[in-house]
């Protein structure tokens, strides 16, 4: 019994879930609307797109380092798709724009992947460069601006899967059918990471690239695949966001990389160390988005939100990293 307890207490995940629960209880105590059916559906709705971007970030974080180019890539691919298929004149199947969007995302991911696989550069700097290129293409030659969606894409975004009403106060909440896409994506990536050589190789590269190469993993190919997959998933996220909002708003997603990287680290993923999985993404994203969305409910003014988020990120990372260090018995100063 005791070793199991010890094992549970030693895990970062336990503390993240505990913090999330405590925070939920605090919000519940103040507003009484957190642990209701509407509260939960609203939370699921809020984390939906972030969960998708979380996969992209996790793939990059596990094998190399942070990917800051996915907001630009997601916006670019969603923008191109929406400007082709987002008008009322397109009434065909939603599958076509969806696949087109994925293809554009994959293409962008390949650029990242090629550079990362071919050369030994920090991923942060490479993706900063590609991010600048992607957003430059979107605003420069393509002249992106805000436009309302019509036709198939707008309809797709407004399909709801679950609709609930709170019996106490009559508030309503909807969960879009797109949540199914998120579930399917998580199942696919879970399978890829656990049962394929690609997934095993990703973790091997993360923990020691040279050792992975010597034990026969084709490191270049795996990194290339990881970034291509990441780009594709980022594009899906951008597509979902655009359909959901019902408008092309290219600047909305920009700057979001910060939150996702923070969520992943809070959830227990170590950048470039081959530690972490989808579960870490989920708990990290849920915790961070929950805190961000409910600060107002706790009476913290809007202007203080950045301070609060920054402080949480710093504290969370310090605790997570140092608990892992002491567990692994790494000596200080190493």
């Amino acid at each position: 019994m005791m070793p199991i307890m010890k094992k549970i207490l030693n895990r970062t995940e336990t503390y993240v879930i505990l913090t999330a629960l405590l925070f939920g209880i605090a919000v519940e105590a103040v507003s009484g609307q957190f642990f209701s059916n509407t509260g939960m559906i609203n939370l699921a709705r809020a984390v939906m797109v972030y969960l998708v971007f979380g996969i992209t970030e996790m793939l990059s974080l596990t094998c190399a380092g942070p990917d800051v180019s996915y907001p630009a890539l997601a916006s670019l691919s969603a923008f191109i798709t929406a400007s082709w298929f987002g008008s009322a004149s397109y009434q065909g199947s939603i599958i076509v724009p969806f696949l087109v969007c994925m293809a554009i995302g994959a293409l962008g991911g390949m650029i990242n992947g090629y550079i990362m696989a071919r050369f030994d550069f920090p991923s942060l700097i490479v993706t900063l460069g590609t991010s600048s290129v992607f957003s430059g293409i979107m605003y420069g030659p393509l002249k992106a601006s805000n436009t309302i969606l019509h036709g198939t894409m707008a309809e797709f975004g407004s399909i709801n899967m679950i609709a609930v009403t709170n019996p106490e106060n009559g508030l309503k909440a909807n969960l879009p059918a797109q949540f199914l896409i998120v579930t399917v994506l998580y199942l696919i990536v879970f399978f890829l990471l656990r049962y394929t050589m690609f997934g095993r190789g990703l973790y091997a590269i993360g923990s020691d690239k040279a050792a992975a190469e010597r034990s026969g993993f084709k490191t270049g190919r795996i990194i290339f695949l990881a970034y291509t997959l990441g780009g594709t998933i980022a594009a899906i996220g951008g597509f979902m966001y655009t359909c959901n909002v019902g408008a092309i708003s290219p600047s909305d997603l920009m700057g979001g990389e910060m939150i996702i990287i923070a969520a992943c680290t809070l959830g227990g993923i170590r950048p470039g160390a081959g530690i972490g999985g989808l579960f870490n993404v989920i708990i990290g994203v849920v915790l961070l988005i929950m805190i961000q969305n409910n600060l107002l409910m706790l009476g913290i003014p809007l202007y203080f939100q950045d301070v609060f988020t920054g402080a949480i990120i710093l504290l969370g990372t310090i605790v997570a990293i140092n608990s892992q260090r002491s567990r692994n018995g790494i000596k200080k100063n190493g």
């Binding site: 050369f119 030994d120 600048s132 290129v133 680290t265 140092n322 100063n333 190493g334």
Partner: protein
């Protein structure tokens, strides 16, 4: 004899400073040909010198962290916080009064105070990275957000305006065609050059960057040096913030967030290795000048949207990374 000169030529070609120098001459000639009578004028050179100083200093701040094997993503936010503080302090105390002795003292005093704030922010980064072992990227990302938040709280999300004219007029002071901003940049660069090449601290920074474990086992106190490195970075960022407020006569919490990318680009352009352990200050100065010249040249084409610049900067960053990588690796195998 011929062989010897060939070796010498190869040695020059492998020098990143020489490469940038050739590039700079090419840009100047290209600019003079494309925009005759507009590019190569004293006025244009002055405005180039004025504009590049802010992110030139930010690039120096990123440079020292990059050489030590880390990175500082919070420099822009530190600069903005410092700009906001000095703007508020001066507008509260001097107001719109004319130049007087007390105003001069107030400017000196508030600059010193703001530099102290920059040092504190930098030291916070240093402690996070050195003592608490948080990866530099994560630590500075988080502290950047924190500092952005503090600036937002101070200003309620608005821009600071009403900076006294006495202060903004300072940026008009010129030495030959070089504005005060540029003089400050050169001053910072010279100090950094001295630190990096003439002190043991500079040597230790390079060592930590190339192999932190080896540095530790050779008796270097990594933690203490990292705190120093990031404090210097914060100090430089605060200087950049002061200069930027002086030039723009306003400050904003999220002003110039793209400068992070740009300062990293300057560092990589100037031959700094993103993996640490390699880099030189003259390269940074030249790179800042070249890139601002290219930016100004692109601005002269009226119908080119500013967003094309993003494409050029991003592509340049990647291309320079790859070129430096290939040239350096060829150098290693030849040796």
């Amino acid at each position: 004899m011929a062989e010897k000169s060939g070796v010498y030529l190869k040695k020059i070609m492998n020098d990143p400073i020489f490469r940038i120098f050739i590039l700079m001459s090419a840009v100047v000639i290209f600019g003079a040909l494309l925009m005759p009578g507009k590019f190569l004028t004293a006025g244009n050179m002055t405005s180039i010198a004025k504009q590049l100083s802010e992110y030139g200093i930010l690039a120096l701040a990123v440079f020292i962290c990059m050489v030590s094997g880390g990175i500082d993503l919070s420099v822009v936010y530190i600069a903005n916080l410092c700009g906001i503080i000095i703007g508020t302090m001066l507008s509260k105390t001097i107001g719109s009064s004319d130049f007087a002795g007390s105003a001069a003292w107030m400017i000196v005093f508030s600059s010193a105070a703001v530099m102290a704030v920059g040092c504190v922010c930098g030291a916070l980064n240093g402690i996070l990275i050195g003592k608490l072992k948080v990866p530099a990227m994560l630590a500075t990302l988080g502290s950047g957000q924190l500092i952005l938040g503090i600036s937002t709280v101070i200003t309620n999300g608005q821009a600071i305006t009403g900076v006294p004219a006495v202060f903004t007029k300072l940026s008009g002071i010129k030495f030959w065609i070089l504005p005060l901003n540029f003089q400050v940049f050169i001053f910072c660069a010279v100090i950094m050059y001295m630190i990096m090449s003439r002190t043991s601290f500079g040597l230790r920074t390079l060592l930590i960057g190339s192999n932190s474990k080896a540095a530790f086992f050779s008796g270097i106190n990594n933690n203490r040096d990292l705190v120093k490195i990031y404090t210097i970075s914060g100090l430089l960022a605060s200087v950049s913030g002061i200069i930027s407020t002086m030039r723009m006569s306003s400050a904003k919490p999220d002003y110039g967030t793209s400068y992070i990318m740009f300062s990293i680009l300057i560092c990589v352009f100037g031959g700094t290795s993103p993996n640490g352990g390699k880099g030189n200050v003259p390269g940074i100065v030249l790179a800042a000048i070249v890139l601002q010249m290219v930016a100004t040249l692109m601005n002269m084409f009226q119908n080119l949207s500013t967003f094309y610049r993003d494409i050029v900067w991003g592509a340049l960053l990647l291309i320079m990374l790859i070129i430096n990588y290939i040239l350096d690796n060829r150098h290693v195998t030849k040796r």
